[in-house]
Amino acid sequence: MLVLTIGGGLLFFPPLVLLFNHELTVFGVPQIVVYLFAIWVLLIIGTALLTRRLPRDATQDGTEGDG
């Protein structure tokens, strides 16, 4: 999850984001737009999948290890 957050962060920030900023278009849409939305979708899916694997907090005030 940490990897996802930090990785997502890196991919959204320069300079990595610049790698995908070209005059190309995908079905008429600029590449960078497609890139950003694609990362976005991956982050959402990744979070949903990872969350499913995380143990649920049993109770509101139960004790558990630090994340």
């Binding site: 999850m1 940490l2 320069p14 079905f27 737009v33 982050l43 959402i44 949903a48 509101q60 994340g67």
Partner: protein, 902 residues
């Protein structure tokens, strides 16, 4: 064609619908804790209050003006929610545990329940949010005007009313609506289920509206490809090359801070959260919502730029595009969507801010003035609280309106919002420090937030009045008093930067540096340390810090008096009854324990904020409120010094004890030494007497023919007698020293102690009769088995009896013997009516050669009998001591652990 009157009527009808929704939402939430209102979906939708009219209108305008930059506002929060496990979960857990009601509450609670910090945060939040509120007013006003301006009869009743009047009307309506919505009652946890339900509904409306407009635009524009091709043909290529500069970073950073620190986001995400597990869904669903919101923004913007006439306001494309195509229904829907996003933001933001204002500014003032005491009405505080909320809502909206009034000529929506974001971001370093950094201190945080705020006000807030006042413009150009390095948009000579990036850089850098350095050089107070541990280790210790209130003079009645005034009579009574029932006592008889006071404090904190609750209860419960345990754990400097001095004290105490022990040991040694000397002299003395008589008699015998046979015989028998005595003495000495050194060992075997006693009595029978003793028997135990040596035991008894005989000079001598079993011991008392043993000699008589003064008259014994007897008894694991007897004389008590009684 749409008219302004019609859209205003629709808007009012829509608000009515929201109100009905909120009303039923509240009732439903009250009736049933597990209703659909309490679902992760509603929670996620309520978080989407983040998407305001800024998103709805401003993002389109932003996309039209600066390309992809608008995306950062959503990508930042996406990162925060994707990482919900690290930050949001922690915030929610802390807030649930400590009944946090706002960001100001969280910070003041964390930093030693400082009310001053609460006030600071509240003031900054109120000022900082003003532009954001103004943005919503502007958006709604513009949207109404966009509709009105679209046709010649569109003005309707708005004719003659300028945008200021319209904005004032909107602001007033919003204030009324928010008051009706949000301040109907004071909830324990500041949760507003009804409002949340309405917000969730609005979230659906605005998303549907924006998507509807988007789909429409994509449809008429010939698909995504068509739109971008059209734009390219008109030379409107989305300029992406310059997007990823310092602004990209800045807005991304600011939006990360904003999603957590904006008062309304904190309210919906943290305070209104009823179940931590809802975050699991929100973690991916909220980013998905934002993505759905923004997916059509670029097409709308690009298409709008391409087809709308030159000079049309890109902020209103979402509205004007359908209008220009004659799609009035869609335009109305779009208007409602935009209106929806503005109302939900204003409602929640004002509720969140009013909670802060009333809890941190108004309530402490009221408490200080002690108006409650005069107000005997049980609903006192609740009513004051509600009035305070209403006043603060009006104040907040007024501030927003004034900001709008002064800056109404500045063009776009998004930059206004970013001014607020920058202000709110000043809390973010403090927030992170509060929950992750134990050493962060109140002073540092206060200084950091203040410094950041001042820089923000100078470099971000002030320039936004550029168009309003020539003085501000001059200031921007030349700096104050011509000091160029203080120019708001080029501080310290940092020129050529984007103003937003410049302001954010300086304010946040100074903020963070102050926070870090300040925390490192200041030392937090005890309460701060307690709270720091509780916050930072929230997942480690589940419990709250147990503060030890010394209950002092406070009675349960006093506490109830306070609780009643804050919580209302019903809830206070319910709370007290519940606690009393848990403890199984009558509520009237209940004692206010520290735990109960802490519990009560948290309950009150839910209504009036941690700092106020703390002040209030501290007033009632006079006494210290520092947990000793926590104090011990935390190495406070004073504590360390104290510990050090305590250690020193302890060491010196130990040294003193050691010296004392040494002295004692030395004294004992000397005592032993003198005892040894005494022993030797006693022995010499004891040996010398018979030796002298033996020598003198033998000398007489050596003289020839001076004695007759009778005399000679007498002398020889005397010599014999004396040598026997000498032998006996030497035997005894040997016996004793052997016993003492444990050399003479015997097998302890089960023996009948009673039988040994009887045997001793039989042996002494003749002696007793001879001396005319009257022997009495007390209780006799009968056969009693002990571990020991029968002969030795018998020897001890004989010794005791013969002592009693020897020293008894009473005219009618008596001896009393009892034996009994008492608590697992065989106890024999041998008492006589002799002179007894003087107090001074009682400890001495068991020493060697100590016969006692009386005994010194009689020289028949060596004075070793009692010493030997005691040794013997000790070897049998028993004791021999003097006791208070039933006769006037001495009484020896022998005690042996029994084996078993037959």
């Amino acid at each position: 064609m749409l008219s302004a009157d019609f859209v205003i009527a629709t808007a009012i009808a829509y608000v009515g619908l929201l109100f009905v929704l909120a009303y039923f939402g509240d009732r439903r939430a009250k009736a049933n804790k597990n209703s659909w209102l309490n679902s992760p979906a509603v929670y996620t939708l309520s978080i989407s209050v983040y998407c305001t009219s800024w998103t709805f209108y401003g993002a389109v305008g932003n996309a039209a003006r600066s390309g992809l930059e608008f995306l950062t506002i959503y990508l930042g929060p996406t990162l925060v929610f994707v990482g919900w496990y690290f930050l949001l979960r922690r915030l929610v857990r802390i807030s649930h545990l400590h009944r946090i009601t706002s960001l100001a509450d969280l910070l003041s609670s964390r930093f030693g329940k400082s009310s001053r910090l609460g006030v600071l945060v509240t003031c900054i939040a109120v000022v900082g949010i003003a532009p954001y509120i103004a943005l919503q007013l502007k958006a709604v006003t513009s949207s109404i005007q966009a509709v009105a301006g679209s046709s010649e009869f569109g003005q309707g009743s708005l004719k003659g009313i300028d945008d200021v009047g319209l904005a004032f009307g909107v602001a007033a309506g919003m204030a009324l609506f928010t008051i009706l919505f949000g301040t109907r009652h004071v909830d324990a946890k500041e949760q507003h289920h009804g409002v949340v339900a309405a917000i969730a509904f609005e979230a659906v409306v605005k998303l549907t509206a924006l998507v509807a407009v988007g789909v429409f635009v994509v449809f008429i524009g010939g698909g995504f490809e068509g739109i971008f091709r059209l734009a390219a043909e008109r030379g409107l290529a989305v300029d992406t090359a310059t997007s990823f500069d310092s602004r990209w970073l800045t807005t991304m950073g600011l939006s990360i801070a904003a999603i957590v620190c904006l008062p309304r986001q904190f309210q919906v995400t943290v305070v209104e959260n009823s179940n931590e597990n809802h975050l699991r869904v929100a973690g991916w669903a909220f980013p998905a919502y934002m993505m759905a919101m923004s997916i059509f923004i670029l097409p709308i913007a690009v298409y709008g730029l391409a087809v709308m006439p030159e000079g049309s306001n890109p902020d209103m494309f979402a509205l004007t595009l359908p209008l220009s195509q004659g799609q009035n229904g869609l335009a109305l829907f779009a208007f409602i969507g935009g209106f929806s996003s503005a109302t939900s933001m204003i409602i929640l933001e004002s509720i969140a801010l009013s909670i802060m204002v009333s809890n941190h500014i108004i309530m402490p003032m009221v408490l200080k003035l002690s108006a409650i005491r005069q107000n005997s009405d049980g609903q006192g505080v609740t009513r004051v609280l509600l009035i305070a909320r209403r006043v603060s809502i009006i104040l907040i909206l007024s501030l927003g309106f004034f900001y709008f009034f002064f800056t109404r000529d500045s063009d776009a929506l998004a930059p206004i919002g970013l001014i607020s974001f920058t202000a709110i971001a000043q809390f973010f370093p403090a927030l992170l420090a509060a929950i992750f950094w134990r050493d962060a201190s109140l002073k540092a945080v206060t200084a950091a937030i203040s410094a950041g705020f001042v820089v923000w006000a100078w470099s971000c807030f002030l320039p936004s009045f550029d168009s309003v006042s020539p003085a501000v413009s001059a200031l921007l150009d030349a700096g104050p008093w011509g000091i160029s390095w203080l120019r708001p948009e080029a501080m310290f000579g940092l020129e050529g930067w984007d103003p937003l990036a410049h302001a954010a850089f300086w304010s946040l850098s100074i903020n963070i540096v102050t926070l870090v350095i300040g925390s490192l050089i200041t030392s937090p107070s005890a309460l701060e340390r307690i709270q720091a541990t509780a916050f930072v280790d929230v997942f480690r210790h589940s419990g709250l810090p147990q503060r030890v209130f010394v209950p002092g003079s406070a009675t349960a009645n006093d506490l109830f008096f306070v609780a009643e005034r804050v919580l209302g009579e019903k809830r206070a009574a319910a709370l007290f009854e519940m606690v009393a029932r848990e403890r199984g006592v009558d509520p009237v008889m209940m004692e206010p324990t520290p735990e109960f006071v802490a519990h009560l404090e948290r309950e009150l904190a839910g209504s009036i904020g941690a700092a106020s609750a703390h002040v209030m209860l501290s007033k009632v419960v006079a006494g210290a409120d520092v947990s000793l345990e926590e104090m011990m754990q935390m190495a406070d400097e004073t504590q360390q010094a104290k510990e050090y001095s305590q250690r020193l004290e302890k060491t010196s105490e130990e040294l003193r004890l050691t010296a004392q022990k040494l002295e004692d040991a030395n004294a004992q040694l000397r005592e032993l030494d003198s005892q040894k000397d005494e022993f030797l002299s006693q022995v010499s003395h004891e040996v010398r007497t018979p030796m002298t008589s033996i020598r003198s008699f033998s000398e007489i015998l050596l003289e020839p023919d001076e004695l007759d046979e009778v005399q000679r015989h007498r002398f020889v028998s005397t010599i014999h007698h004396e040598s026997l005595r000498l032998t006996k003495l030497l035997d005894e000495i040997l016996d004793l020293s052997a016993l003492e050194r444990g050399e003479r060992s015997w097998e302890n075997v089960p023996v009948d102690a009673e039988e040994a006693l009887n045997r001793a009595l039989a042996v002494c029978d003749a002696l007793l009769r001879q001396k005319g003793f009257q022997v009495e028997f007390g209780e006799r135990s009968g056969t009693t088995m002990v571990e020991g040596d029968a002969d030795r035991l018998c020897q001890v008894f004989i010794n005791l009896i013969s002592n009693a005989v020897k020293y008894n000079d009473a005219p009618q001598p008596r001896l009393r013997v009892t034996s009994l079993v008492r608590s697992g011991n065989f106890v024999v008392d041998i008492a006589d009516n002799g002179p007894g043993i003087p107090k001074a000699e009682r400890t001495l008589i068991f020493e060697k050669f100590a016969r006692g003064l009386r005994g010194s008259v009689d020289q028949t014994g060596a004075g070793l009998g009692l010493a030997i007897s005691r040794q013997i008894v000790t070897r049998m694991n028993g004791t021999l001591e003097l006791a208070q007897g039933q006769l006037s004389g001495a009484c020896f008590r022998l005690r042996l652990p029994i084996l078993g009684q037959k």
